[in-house]
Amino acid sequence: MIKEIREPLIFEISEAGKRAGELPALDVPEKKDALAGVALRRELEGFPEVSETEVTRHFTRLSQKNYCVDMGIYPLGSCTMKYNPKINERLSAHPAFAASHPLASEDLVQGNLEVLKRLENYLSEIAGMDAFTLHPAAGAHGELVGMMLIRAALEARGDARKHVLIPDSAHGTNPSSAHICGYAVREIKSNENGTIDLAGLEREMTDEVAALMVTNPNTLGVFESDILRITEIVHAKGGLVYMDGANMNALTGIVRPGDMGVDVLHINLHKTFSTPHGGGGPGSGPVGVKKELVPFLPVPVIGERNGRYVLELDRPGTIGRVRGHFGHFSVIVRALCYILSLGPRGVREIAEFAVLNANYIRKSLEGDYHLKYTTPSMHECVFSDKLQKEHGVTNLDIAKRLIDYGVHPPTMSFPLIVHGALMIEPTETESRRDLDLFIDAMKAIAREAKESPEVLHAAPHVTYVGRLDEVNAAKNPVLRWEKKP
């Protein structure tokens, strides 16, 4: 509420002897020598000592230094910052789920297994795949698991292959995941529409190539219209098609990746299915596959035997375990709640209005900002700072100035094929008023760029801190508090 208030680190307000969270007196006879001979620490050096009042105030004040979806539009491209329904938060925290132990035997957790199975089935229907695994902890983890599945399938064919093709517009996790799966990455250039260049693909797609990782709609928010031809080319050469489903928000109920020839894909529950981002996780990156790849799915697989759910561990072909237990269960509960709430029509409306909102913004800002690719937009549109650069104003200036107008900036770090990118994804849950708020701010900033660029260079003006020195942060890293000597 008050700009000036600065919140110290908890360590700076710690005072010997204070405490919260007391424990009951020990109710068993104390065995002083229980850990005789074991190296113990004298004390938790540097650990804070504060009261519950202070803890509550510390985190309440810190929370007020964040912008969030609950405050307003958050048009961060490729992140699908939609509203997170409150009821899903409550239900995912229900003791029946939240208090259940992952090592409990199957018959004690039939409800949990039903949750998992249901979501697997619903995602398969939505994505047009034959099966899903919910183990992956996030999108990047899903990519890795997906590539492992592809590798396992090819090895089973006796043809492991060495390379993976990835468009230059792809998110950084794609090449990184392929690499960690032991593949060499070959980048394929985008054409003038920002989509995959078919000629280039035909050239690159040799029988040394295991897979193509395609993002559709791609990170420009452009749908790969040649997708059928693309998957055909890859399949013809014995390769498999991996789809990064981070942008699934543009497709739900409209078209299914499985119907377009995609063999494997991941979906981000923390994007398309409204589970909160939590300031950077936890997410969940379920992976869907076609029949051919089912034998290789990570264990445990949820099976059904005479009306009861069972955990299948003994699956010869499996790539093995990719994470402990069953994935991000409480995130999975939220996504299930979301799909059940929306139903067939609601799930389709996700895509319909995500795309309408994005095109509304694009149309409204076309004159004011440069659009490198004029191909039709789906759920997001990518402008650049080209016009503003003439006045020495960069996309960073524009982003920081947006903060002064009370809205969150778009994504700027990629796609790398657009310099000075402003990647805008409003999502379907935004109101006309919030969209206009953002549009008006962008227009005002376009004017300011011409008339008073210095105001933009100095932005933001309304936050607790101004632009921070990131260069120094990386040059002389201070990554933890330390007691002054």
């Binding site: 969030c68 259940s100 409209i254 300031g279 006309r432």
Partner: protein, 448 residues
Amino acid sequence: MSYLSLSDNDKKEMLARVGVGSVDDLFCCIPDSVRLRRPLDLPPALTEIELVRTIEGIGRKNAYAGHLSFLGGGAYEHFIPAVVDYLSSRGEFVSPYTPYQPEVSQGTLQIIFEFQTLVCQLAGLDIANASLYDGSTGTAEAVLMAQRVTGRDKVLLARSLHPQFREVVRTFIKNLGIEAVEVGYGPDGRIDPAALAGLLDARTAAVVHQSPNFFGVVEDVRALSEAAHGAKALSVAIVAEAVSLGLLEAPGRLGADIVTGEAQSLGVPLSFGGPYLGFLATKKEFLRQMPGRVAGQTVDKEGRRGFVLTLSTREQHIRRERATSNICTNQALCALRATIFMETLGKRGLRELAWQNVQKAAYAADRLAAVPGVKRRFSGPVFNEFVVELPKPWPAVEASLRAKGIIGGYGLEAAYPELKGAALVTVTEMRTKDQIDRLARSLQEVLS
């Protein structure tokens, strides 16, 4: 239930501005042949009232709730103060993205910075990252990191390391030409030093050990680290029960080069296995090889302190395939919970919590060992869980205990064929003396 915020009038006017006749026209660029022309085959939409009935109905199918549980093995039922739930459920923490815009994310960033500090203090090392998915993937990341640091291609995994962690490591390294060799344990439940010495060689990148290990036994981290260093390998200490760090010496102080593992114990609910909280701490010198995000302290033009995500040149959105890891979204909200938890219990609270776990487990171990036919399997010192050997096959014993409303422990045979008839019994501060006595009594009835 719909979460759209557009009125029919809004939709009309917006379509007009976009210049299309219908929403359908927006999808013109999708090949008609693949357009889905039928409604999705999903259950009909539910309103909030119906959703609550449905989900709570599914929840009631979990018989687990009614039972007295002594399960652990890497996931622990610990006290979670109400402040943790309240504060971590605030929309300002739940609904923002990764703090890429520091000026409007100082809350999240400062909390990550405090989390990194607390992890360093627990681990006894210089630096820590902002979190990893969980203990199993954290262990895998540590193995890959050790390979990058040492340039070697073989890792020694303690057989007493969490079985799931070992499996996940194998899944990760399968395609990377890294070899994993297991090191057995002795009668005390600790890594067998002779076996270890025999396996260490010039190809060894790291010795990966867990303390307390999967049998609840505290390892001699100093000796293991010295052995590893003797072969110029890294000592990688895994912690699956973070509460133990309130009492046990910091692994970093005992020679560990990387400390990683699972911090679910610190304020994160059991929640059937996830989301949990992986963490990783290491030495300054390995900073550039460390996986995962980090927040750092800096200043703005007026010299005001602020925090930012930094050293991102290690990460995929800049380094792409040469990144130290592909992790992007991590476990921020779980790290927040752990930060609130640690700061609430504080210096004395966390130590006392650890001590109470030791005491309850010790009491339970004595009570059970006193039951005719029951034997402790290992002689080593334990933290809050221990292995018992029973005269009858575990599945039968487990079933009979279940009939008495008790989940007595975790059978080890599946993961350790050599431990037929043995079970891991976990006792945290949440178990009262009465409950422990009830377990002992019931076990006696079951066995007699």
